[in-house]
């Protein structure tokens, strides 16, 4: 029996009550990035070299920032919202008095945060299609892959959820990990601009692999080393999930 399912449904039911403001936030912010940087900065930059191709900066940015949106949506949900349910509202404690294990709850939260990123990504892709930024049929594949990106970052965030004493703790995760990562992963500018040492470091970042996997699909190309990038994201997800689960079980075991 899928015991995580009623927990996932619970989150969905709460979300349905707040769906409109939540979706507006999910769409509006990435759109502002696109308008401000894509059109504004894009006019200055013109085109960006991508392998042998030259692509408009707007397309370059859109294909990177959709990965960032998947990451952010999953991260926010698996940090702030999951922490509220786990620690502040004690929702998890209530659920564990029913025949549901803590591991079922962690799985439900992981899948829920990934689902939130799928919702955000769907809305953003729809807007990008509407604006005519890309018409690539391969976006159909980018869509489930971005859900996978959401899974990876949801697993990573749940590690920090398990370790948190309060909301302030998450500032470290954002300031010391996510924000630098967005600048090093080729979302805003090609990684080739980075000094060699930093470039090498950027190879290790999960967001780098997400961008390398998704971006070519926007240009109607198949990604080079697509399986490798997907494999790295999967490995990050599996390892992070196991750590997150172990730390959460430890947190609740006293």
């Amino acid at each position: 029996m899928m015991r995580w399912w009623p927990v996932f449904l619970r989150n969905l039911r709460v979300w349905r009550k707040l769906a409109i403001p939540s979706l507006v936030g999910n769409i509006a912010e990435p759109l502002m990035w696109l308008v401000a940087f894509g059109y504004g900065l894009g006019a200055l930059v013109g085109e960006v070299s991508l392998g042998e191709d030259k692509v408009p900066y707007l397309l370059f940015l859109a294909s990177g920032s959709v990965c960032m949106s998947a990451m952010n949506a999953a991260t926010f949900e698996a940090l702030y919202s999951a922490f509220s349910r786990m620690h502040v509202q004690k929702t998890w404690d209530g659920i564990m008095n029913a025949p549901i294990r803590l591991s079922d709850i962690v799985l439900a939260e992981m899948l829920w945060a990934a689902f939130k990123s799928l919702l955000a990504v769907t809305a953003i892709l729809a807007v990008m299609l509407g604006l005519g930024i890309s018409h690539s049929p391969k976006l159909l594949l980018a869509w489930p892959l971005l859900w996978g990106v959401g899974i990876t970052f949801s697993c990573l965030a749940l590690i920090f959820n398990a370790l948190a004493k309060g909301y302030d703790f998450f500032t470290y995760y954002f300031t010391l990990f996510l924000t630098p990562m967005t600048f090093l992963s080729g979302v805003f500018f090609p990684r080739e601009q980075l000094p060699p040492l930093v470039y090498g470091l950027s190879e290790l970042l999960p967001l780098t692999h997400a961008v390398e996997l998704i971006r070519p699909l926007f240009m109607d190309h198949w990604p080079e080393h697509g399986l490798w990038h997907a494999g790295v994201l999967l490995a990050y997800a599996v390892v992070a999930y196991r750590i997150a689960l172990a730390l959460t079980l430890k947190r609740f075991k006293q």
Binding site: L9, R13, K17, T91, G94, A98, K253
Partner: protein, 307 residues
């Protein structure tokens, strides 16, 4: 005799050097209400957590409905109702939704939930609040909603951790009335409480814990009879404390003081009362010994460090 619903055998749990639960054994028969009483930090909540499989005992065993905790935790919880010390209601849902969502955790279908939610809200005297959210409820209403939520799976055994702490007398009496109804329906209840009147009123049997150890176990009446003199005379006022050394103290079996009040425990109150009436300026209260006296006798009158 039918097999007990819940059996705990020789439970031991330590955190670091502190032995929080130390060789505690008890059982609950079908239809029985067992009260676990004890000062703060006595090990009540830890014992309850072990019954729920949330905390693993260092040694000892918990069995419920013939199944083993924690190996069969899910099957056991399918038949349990739990009200924890602090409400874990969902603030985003209405009262009715809280029950529905919780019922889903037990795998209940939409159809059976529809049948159960209305009567449970009415049982909790919350029918008029079905569409209100927990934030709009009073403390007593929240506790009753928690109780209704714990009943959604029609459990045979209820575990209630301090169900009336923080409630005003009206709300507390309503809660007691509902718990008595559940006992009449044949449900079993394990209850922890700080309130001796609650324990005396609801519980068939009591378990007194202190420092993680079981001090005594038995029916409220039998415990009082076994450990206390039947009468208590409380004396306060100027010079009351000096009476502890006065000759009239020999008229009581036992004399205790707390603050400025002196407690005389006796089986023959009349001569003592007569002797006391000769001392001017004293105020006396003559009453039968109760569970609170027993509790204080066995656990002491000092305030606990963590209280």
């Amino acid at each position: 005799m039918t097999a007990p619903y819940l059996v705990c055998e020789h439970l031991v749990k330590s955190y670091g050097d502190a032995r929080v639960v130390d060789d505690v054994s008890f059982s609950i028969a079908p239809g029985e209400c067992l009260g676990v009483i004890g000062p703060n930090g006595a090990g009540k909540t830890t014992t309850l957590r072990m019954c729920l499989g949330l905390t693993a005992p260092d040694s000892g065993e918990v069995r419920a409905f013939g199944l083993h905790m924690p190996a069969d935790a899910l099957a056991i919880k399918q038949r349990l109702g739990v009200v924890s010390q602090f409400d874990t209601l969902d603030p985003d849902f209405t009262c009715a939704e809280n029950l529905e969502v919780y019922g889903r955790y037990f795998g209940l279908s939409q159809a059976s939930l529809k049948e159960r939610v209305g009567p449970l809200l009415s049982f909790a005297a919350l029918s008029h609040k079905a569409t209100a959210k927990p934030g709009e409820l009073s403390g007593g209403m929240k506790r009753r909603l928690s109780l209704a939520r714990a009943l959604i799976n029609n459990p045979e055994l209820l575990l209630l951790d301090e169900p009336t702490t923080g409630l005003d007398p009206q709300a507390r009496h309503l809660m007691w009335e509902r718990l008595q109804q559940l006992l009449q329906q044949g449900k079993s209840i394990l209850l922890t409480t700080h309130f001796m009147d609650e324990a005396e009123r609801l519980c068939d049997r009591l378990l007194l814990l202190d420092h993680g150890k079981k001090m005594v176990e038995g029916t409220p009446r039998a415990l009082i009879d076994a450990h206390l003199e039947p009468d208590v005379v409380e004396v306060f006022g100027p010079g009351a404390l000096a009476l502890m050394q006065a000759p009239l103290a020999s008229l009581a079996h036992r004399v205790e003081s707390s603050g400025d009040t002196v407690f005389f425990y006796t089986s023959e109150a009349a001569p003592l009362l007569q002797a006391l009436s000769a001392v001017p300026g004293l105020r006396t209260l003559h009453r039968p010994a109760n569970l609170e006296d027993l509790f204080l006798k066995l656990t002491g009158r000092q305030i606990r460090e963590d209280a």
